[in-house]
């Protein structure tokens, strides 16, 4: 079992083909007390990391990536039932209503549109029960 409430032991995986997003997420999650962070540059690599280094409490995944896109990644993870307790947050520039519905249908737990602010990430994590709500 992974302890989901104390951020110190939280493990996160950031999946994005842009290094800048890895860096930004490290900083944003770090400020929330989450320091155990792995990253991957596409869905296929992320699946490998997930199997080798998992389980993770949280996966943040971009939509558009080479090799395996975020939506296919979410489907692949959800098809493997042993990651059911891992929360998946899609983080993407894709902002169409149908896309959000598709991501949730595929098994994403929530959806964050780029560009985002640190507060938005914090609020999403609070909704997912991964960090305490402010206030």
């Amino acid at each position: 079992m992974v302890d989901t409430m104390s951020n110190g032991s939280m493990r996160a995986l950031v999946v994005d083909d842009f290094q800048t997003i890895h860096q930004i997420m490290r900083r944003v999650l770090g400020a929330l007390g989450i320091h155990d962070i792995s990253d991957a540059v596409d869905g296929e690599k992320a699946l490998e990391v997930l199997e080798k280094e998992g389980p993770f409490n949280l996966v943040l995944v971009d939509w558009y990536m080479p090799v395996m896109n975020g939506l296919d990644f979410v489907r692949a993870v959800r098809a493997r039932r042993h990651h059911d307790s891992t929360k998946i947050l899609m983080v993407t520039t894709e902002a169409e209503q149908e896309s959000i519905v598709a991501a949730l249908d595929a098994g994403a737990d929530d959806y964050l549109m780029k560009p985002f602010t640190p507060e938005m990430v914090e609020e999403k994590l609070a909704i997912l029960g991964l960090c305490p709500a402010k206030g």
Binding site: A95, E96, Q97, I100, V101, A103, L104, A108, D110, Y111, L112, M113, F116, E119, M120, E123, A126, I127, A133, K134, G135
Partner: protein
Amino acid sequence: MKPENTNYLRELVRSATGIVLEVEKEYLLEARLSPVAHREGLGDVESLVEMLRMNPDGVLRDMVLDAMTTNETSFFRDLHPFDALRQTILPQLMERRAETRTLNIWSAVCSSGQEPYSLLMMLSENFPELSSWNLNFLASDVSTSMIERARAGRYSQFEVSRGLPASFLVKYLSKVGQSWEMDAGLRKAVKFQVLNLVQPWPALPTMDIIMMRNVLIYFDNATKEKILRKACGCLRGDGYLFLGSSEVLMGLDVALQRTSIDGSWCYQPESRTPAVP
């Protein structure tokens, strides 16, 4: 700025909204009113004040007051009050009101509407049986432009990214161009009204739930007391009042008792007769 102009603006803001601008916050006048002066072709804040003096009740006054009030809000702000309402308070109130099937809810500082809509989405999601109840939902704010925005229920991508679960976003809002529009049914379920908490209140139904979050911080203690006493007066004996998470009643003489429910502070009228064990 000339001191008499600074004083004029402070007094205008205080008398109209109750908001007391501390001396160290005076820079806010310049910072927030310069854009208004520019937009209205008045050059600087000094000339804006000259215009105000000539026409103190016009649209310029509303623009100034809007610029000087902080409208910052978000969906499901602080989360805990919504947990308390969902897990404990609403099941309890619905059991107690089963006979009349009536609930009166007031979001007393609704800003651009995120707070009342969050509540409504939560109600619709968790208590579908309320659709056959008499739900009187009032949402008010001192700012006309905020009430108009809340009534329109249109939010930018930035605003819907603050605190709103994506499942609610796609279920209760629809994308229209670059913005997101609240479901028409939810918009119709709320009565939006301009209401100034520091002026006489209109007749209000006795409330079961009052949300008055993140506004008292701007008032002095005497004003806080006056408002809270009035709120208490229109709250049912077993009703609940929510304040902002950083707002406390310390040092205020009001007949409210604080309880902690599901991680949130809330307030109930003090019972006049002590409970018999």
